[in-house]
Symmetry: D2
Subunit: 343 residues, 4 copies
Amino acid sequence: MFHARTVKLLALLLASPVLVLMLSLPAAAKTITYTPQTIYFTYCFSHPPAARIASGDTVVTKTRDASNDAFQPTMKTLAEGNLDLSRVNPQTGPFYVEGAEPGDTLKVHIDKISLNRDWGWGGAIPYFGALAPEYKTMMVTPPVVDTLYIWRFDRARNVAVLTMPKSKIGKVEVPVRPFFGTIGTAPYGKECISSLVPGTHGANMDFNEVVQGVTMYFPVFEKGALFMLGDGHAAQGDGEIMGAAIETSFDVQFTVEVIKGKTITWPRLENDKYIMSIGSTRPLMDALRLACSDMVNWLAADYGYDKMDAYQLLGQTAVIKIANVVDPQYSVACALDKKYLPK
Amino acid sequence: MFHARTVKLLALLLASPVLVLMLSLPAAAKTITYTPQTIYFTYCFSHPPAARIASGDTVVTKTRDASNDAFQPTMKTLAEGNLDLSRVNPQTGPFYVEGAEPGDTLKVHIDKISLNRDWGWGGAIPYFGALAPEYKTMMVTPPVVDTLYIWRFDRARNVAVLTMPKSKIGKVEVPVRPFFGTIGTAPYGKECISSLVPGTHGANMDFNEVVQGVTMYFPVFEKGALFMLGDGHAAQGDGEIMGAAIETSFDVQFTVEVIKGKTITWPRLENDKYIMSIGSTRPLMDALRLACSDMVNWLAADYGYDKMDAYQLLGQTAVIKIANVVDPQYSVACALDKKYLPK
Amino acid sequence: MFHARTVKLLALLLASPVLVLMLSLPAAAKTITYTPQTIYFTYCFSHPPAARIASGDTVVTKTRDASNDAFQPTMKTLAEGNLDLSRVNPQTGPFYVEGAEPGDTLKVHIDKISLNRDWGWGGAIPYFGALAPEYKTMMVTPPVVDTLYIWRFDRARNVAVLTMPKSKIGKVEVPVRPFFGTIGTAPYGKECISSLVPGTHGANMDFNEVVQGVTMYFPVFEKGALFMLGDGHAAQGDGEIMGAAIETSFDVQFTVEVIKGKTITWPRLENDKYIMSIGSTRPLMDALRLACSDMVNWLAADYGYDKMDAYQLLGQTAVIKIANVVDPQYSVACALDKKYLPK
Amino acid sequence: MFHARTVKLLALLLASPVLVLMLSLPAAAKTITYTPQTIYFTYCFSHPPAARIASGDTVVTKTRDASNDAFQPTMKTLAEGNLDLSRVNPQTGPFYVEGAEPGDTLKVHIDKISLNRDWGWGGAIPYFGALAPEYKTMMVTPPVVDTLYIWRFDRARNVAVLTMPKSKIGKVEVPVRPFFGTIGTAPYGKECISSLVPGTHGANMDFNEVVQGVTMYFPVFEKGALFMLGDGHAAQGDGEIMGAAIETSFDVQFTVEVIKGKTITWPRLENDKYIMSIGSTRPLMDALRLACSDMVNWLAADYGYDKMDAYQLLGQTAVIKIANVVDPQYSVACALDKKYLPK
């Protein structure tokens, strides 16, 4: 397995358009199976590592759903779940990656995501969601009425099904496309930040492109990077506008790598077609500016673009994706087709 | 021709998921060729019609580029074009559609868009663009430096080419996908609004999905609707983030239809896969709210969805597109796959 | 009267810190009494003048309330007023000021504002107001419930009184401080803009400092400036957060003056203590940026400040006033104590 | 001293319009003099207390300036200070207040603030400030040029003086009105948040009304409240628009009190004339909504106002103050004259 893994890694690297200044190659990449013992509700420098792994290692583990598995599919309201709001969005980890130091980049390949139960939940959460008064866009009018939606997974057909007795259509089927809502490293500046908040360290970006097969890049702010992940979504529209996706638990396998001496500012994502920068803040326009400015800087720093040329190229070709518009910071991705990267 | 046209229209209607309350069918749909005599820089109730047409008629005409054809491909700066800023973004029209009255909807099918010259321009416009201080996000630091980018069209290969001597890549090729940046009807409330501004009447949404083959729906606020269009873009990334697309002149053919008694609030678009609502305002988040709230209301009003069910469906499946983040109002489209529309 | 008027004008000018490049002095300033014949609901280049006046002239006239005097104090809801939404916020004027040309500045001194009836109205307007879903911040949850509040004026004590039977306090008294919510000139670029919208031409800024005794400055975009005013407010908190002030009709006297060759970008206000720039746009932060950037530029252009020094001075002394957060564009004023203006 | 102190407290309480559900009265209020031994750069549940104090106790202590005293008055740029950005805005404390538990309110009276040196600094900080591209409103154009402004205090005349050789005025004098930019309790949910960030726990609101003589109220999220303060400002305009005030060190005396069982959501301030709610978030409009919604709720919960009546009252009388528009979250205060509080 090690051999195949290394070959695959090398192949990926040779094919990668990302400039690698220096790579700490795995001495003997291994696969670690980790059964979550503790969970965390903040991204934080001071959490004891769940496991210590090496650059090149692969981890097989599980994640709980964002409610901390508080619901049963027979429930009708979120209130029935008796959520403890300081204990939601539990994260698996942190994984301490040997050799990762502040100023490095952590590369994470999401090898595999699998559903491990047959239902997920969505919800109308009072004071949450993009189309209703919320905890930051606070108003004097009433919030949405607490409702719990239970989606059933038809794994054979890879769809999630919701019955809608009050709607003419009766039921809808949504393609299952599992991804991690929350994924990242320990934050900068000895902050401990709720796992509900996305930022430069990643975390709760709720970006529906963080699917199996993609590669992500995160800034390393603490020794060991302290990588965590959670908040499995079986499917989600752009922006997660109602405030919850189809929330469920996952089995996951991922592989990490430390890129020594490569410093990035915001999380990045690479898939077969695109490279993407992901910025998170409010207001939405500034998240867009962060993402697209980071892409301009990326093209200038790593691909030899004149800065204004890069801006012009994005003006004519950028694909802008709204990741979330409901979390304490909004997230936007600015994507560029990899065909514009010089060899 | 009339016959074929009617059959096509009927076919479209039967296939259409849009509920048509009452349709004023064309007595004898005809094709009008209109050579622009005058151009307008505002969308306005008081502009004399360029032509009077009937519901079902097809128009063949031309549009100038957004600079009012002020540039030559040898120029290097926008200043060389000596733009008169009160006379930019010229529109062809208005077309007075017989029978259209306030409260109706104007349906416009874009039959054909053709490039009619071999270059287009982009630009770094001082105090314009999403990633620099601009006329509304005003700052004390300097704006972008005035630069004119000339893109050459290779029509055989359907690409636009820009040489970039200052960048390692040397030149880039962007697929040509022509669309109208500005398209709409006369505004509500006897306002006359610069053609640079998008709103409930459509106009400068700069949405890169307004391509050949789509159908658009606009509110009718004035007798005759007073439909206009212009601002041809050979290609543009999401958001038009540098403030200009690849700007050029067009030949265009479109077909109009009045949907009597059907009242809509914001422009809508339908293509083979999606229906979309397009909201325009600042800040960006509110444009998103307008678009997605309109989609919720649309699903409730025309397709029998319970409002909260519609919101939940969008939460799990919405495709959100950033049309523009540079105009006086930003534009966002909220799209839903047509497979979720009950028969 | 003429003599006294001229002397007063000269005294004002000599005392004024505003640099006057060239002033078209009145040949014989006169007082015009204008009884409104027509009213307008847009600010627009094409409105026929209500009266032609000269620089230096004083006008005595009246304004209707923002509902176009649609309510009676016995009503309980806005719906009872049967508002025609394309005919609200009526304006008195336009006054064509001889000699005013694009690029000049119109100076308007508000000599006197008087209440001319004994009640005003406020309201909870569905889809309006800062603390509820509104026409731009559109949501799927319900808006505020339509409510009409009738305030009674006690002119002897100069207060407005509202009984509040549902509240412990029973009734409240608010000091009357009458001001014009809407005041300005015809917009730039042949636009006709609803009188509900503030902009570079002024109009519906809803700024509670536009009281008797202040001097305002407006850009002139059209020949004659075409000055209008309306939307009397007996009192209003910062931001007009519920969407309506204490709305009433006014008697007013004002005096105009053309400042030839002096070009300004945004409306300005001067009172005994402050000079102010007023910016209008959404989002709120950008209105603040417009106002404060304009103040920096003003200090640099007219008062010999280094631009960064001006910024530093504002950083330590600016008074920022929220004029409105409910209109289609928000308005913010950036004020500087006049003691910082060099002699 | 104890006696006088208690009498003063009781007098304050009897005069206070704030409903006190239950007050843990000091057994024997004492004055603690604390010389800072350690400083903290985050607000955090896990910081060991600097001192343990009782409800009713008075503390006398000192605070460093926001640069962690990194500058000398001979410097010209911020770069010369060699700031460690993870170690700025140092806080004195935390003070563990016996008996304070989550759900209580901590009342803090600022008895006295004194300047303890003769200069302060302001600055043009690259990628910081409201009128330039910044760390969240990121752009591709250049930021402000790093500049350090040294203000000299004339304590006899209570002014800060800045020479401006590049400006016609030559020098400006600003009234000194010392206040704390940063003040608050440990955050909710076991977060550790940079002292640069304001939130529900208070912290870096940069509100120029937090002066000597006012009373503040903070939510208690952790046992002991863990009160801290720092970031002394000798003067500051609304919004702190250039990103720094006149930054300096302070001597301070304050008195704490635990209000048992009284739960508040956002920090509040009371002075002789007003009660205020302070909301912090981005965008600015939402900070305003948080502040004003909290005031509506406050009036309803503690003063018997019908919620819509409270909204109407604010609509006609609210005073809205822009505290900061430069920190990671903006802060806005919504103030109401205390004459509207029923006896």
